[in-house]
Symmetry: C2
Subunit: 282 residues, 2 copies
C-alpha cells in the first residue's frame, strides 16, 4: 500500500457530539456536501444510542432539510439485524452513512465483523462519506477509547481501549473533549504508544478526514491535537496499575474551523495551506 496508515478513499467526518441538529446545521451541512455526486441518500445508524426512537427522527428531519433524496433510519439493535440483507442493501445504496452518539462499545459489539460493517467499509472505499458523532466518532479508528477515569486519567490503566470500526489507522479520537476535560485520556494513550495522533473533538466541532490523512476542522468548536511522537520520556512502563504517569514533551494544538493538519507529516496547516493541499489533491 502506498499509504499504509489511511484506509479511507472516501471522506470520514468525526464530530465531537452535541452538534446543531435543528438550527443552522453547520456541521451536518459539511457532511452532506461531501456526498458523492448524484447520490444524496443517507443511512443513519443508531446502534450506539439507548434512545434510537428519539434520535433517529431528529437526524431524519435534519438531513431532509439539507436535501437528502431519502433518509434510512436504521436502529440495528443486535447482531441479527447487523446481518440483515435488506439493511445491507440500504447501506449499499447510500452516499452518506451517519453514526449517532451513544455507547461506542455497543457499536463495535453489535457491528464488529458484520455484513453491515463490511458494506460500510466498501461504501467508504467507493467514495461515500462516513460520518459519526460522539461514540460514532470515537469508534472510527482501528483502536478506540470506550471508558476512562473522569478526573485524572493520567494513571496507568485508567483508560480502557479496544478495537474500533477500523475506518482509519494512525490516530485515536475522543469526543466531548473540552467540555469533559479529557486531555489526560489522550495523554495516557500517547504515553502508552507515542505513534498515534490524539484527536480531541469539542462539542459542535468536528474534523473532515480527507484521503491521505489531511484533517480539516469544522464547526464552531475546537479540535485539539495531542502529538506524542517526540515524547522524550515517561515512567509508564515502570509503574503499577493506578500510579500516576509522567510525560515529558507532548505537542498540543488547537484547531478552529478552516484550519488543518497533515497527520503523516505532523504539520499544522493554516487555512491557505490547507486550501492549497486540498485543491491539489482534487
Amino acid at each position: 500500500m502506498a499509504s499504509p496508515i489511511f484506509l479511507a478513499s472516501g471522506h470520514l467526518v468525526a464530530i465531537g457530539g452535541a452538534e446543531d441538529r435543528t438550527s443552522n446545521l453547520e456541521i451536518l451541512k459539511k457532511v452532506f456536501v461531501l456526498a458523492p455526486e448524484g447520490n444524496q441518500e443517507v443511512a443513519v445508524i443508531a446502534t450506539a444510542s439507548g434512545i434510537p426512537d428519539q434520535i433517529l427522527p431528529e437526524y431524519e428531519a435534519a438531513f431532509s432539510r439539507l436535501g437528502a433524496s431519502q433518509v434510512h433510519s436504521l436502529g440495528i439493535r443486535d447482531r441479527q439485524e447487523a446481518a440483515d440483507a435488506e439493511t445491507v442493501h440500504l447501506i449499499e445504496q447510500s452516499g452518506i452513512i451517519f453514526f449517532t452518539g451513544g455507547d461506542q462499545l455497543r457499536l463495535t459489539n453489535v457491528l464488529g465483523g458484520s455484513p453491515v460493517l463490511k458494506a460500510i467499509r466498501e461504501r467508504l472505499r467507493a467514495g461515500a462519506v462516513v460520518a459519526g458523532t460522539s461514540a460514532g466518532a470515537a469508534a472510527m479508528p482501528s483502536t478506540m477509547i470506550y471508558n476512562g477515569a473522569a478526573a485524572d486519567a493520567l494513571r496507568k490503566g485508567a483508560v480502557n481501549m479496544t478495537f474500533g470500526l477500523d475506518f482509519i489507522e494512525g490516530l485515536i479520537i475522543d469526543s466531548h473533549f473540552l467540555e469533559r476535560g479529557r486531555f489526560t485520556r489522550l495523554m495516557e494513550v500517547g504515553a502508552s504508544n507515542p505513534e498515534h495522533l490524539g484527536v480531541g473533538l469539542g462539542e459542535d466541532a468536528g474534523v473532515i478526514i480527507h484521503p491521505h490523512g489531511i484533517l480539516e476542522a469544522i464547526g464552531p468548536g475546537h479540535v485539539i491535537l495531542i502529538d506524542s511522537r517526540e515524547l522524550a520520556s515517561s515512567n509508564i512502563a515502570e509503574l503499577a496499575m493506578g500510579e500516576p504517569v509522567s510525560v515529558e514533551h507532548m505537542i498540543l494544538h488547537a484547531l478552529v474551523s478552516g484550519q488543518g493538519y497533515d497527520v503523516e507529516a505532523r504539520r499544522y496547516l493554516v487555512p491557505h495551506e490547507l486550501g492549497a493541499i486540498l485543491a491539489e489533491s482534487r
Copy 2:
C-alpha cells in the same frame, strides 16, 4: 537583579487543593520540613475561605501533629484585620506561612498592599516558606486567574485575570487542574502571552518552587506544565470576544513526585537531574 523573574529567596509551595490533612499528610509534611532552621512556628491564613472556622482547626491539628511549636490561626476577614499590628507581629515570628483555599479574589482584595502582605513578602525574602493550596496557590504569582468558563475556556476573553500576591513572576498557577479539566484555561492564557509558563496543579499534588525557579513536584497527584514559548501561531488577536482561539504548538509535560523543571531554561528534570541541581544550590 541577578534573576529578575524569581523574587523568592525562601521557598514557595503551591498545592492544587484537596491535599491530605488527616492521614499521611504527605504534602503538608513537605511544607513543614522546608521551615528555616529553629523556627517551627506556623501562621495559617484563611482569608480566601468562606468557612474559616471549619478549615482553620483542621490545619491547626495537622501542623501540630507534624511538630509545630505554635500554630497561629488567622482569619483576616477584611482590610482592617490585614493591617492589625498583632497579626503582623505573628507573621513576623512564623517560619511557615500557609494560605488555605477558597476564593483567590477575596485573598487579593483583602490583602493587596496591606501590612500583613508586606510582612509575608519580607518573611519570604528572609528564608521562610510560604505555602498555599487551591486559591492560596493560584494567587501566588504576579498575575492570577480568578475565573474561567468551565467547559471551553479557549475562547477570547473566557479567562478572567488580575494581579496576584506577587511572590513570584514568570508563571501562572491553576489548581484542581486535572479534576476540573482546566487545560483550556492555561492554553487561553498562553495564547494571550506565550512568555509565562502555565502550571496546572492536580488535587493532592503540588510544586515546591525553589530559589532560581526550579520546580519540584510533590504529592501523589500530577503537575501539568504548558509551555507556550515556542507558540508558532494563534488567531487570538484577530478574534471578537467569545470566538474560539486557535493554537499552533504548545509543549505539554506531566510531572509526578520527584521530578522537576527549570522554568528559566524550560528544561524537564528527571529525578537525578533535579537532585543534582538542588544539591548544587545548597
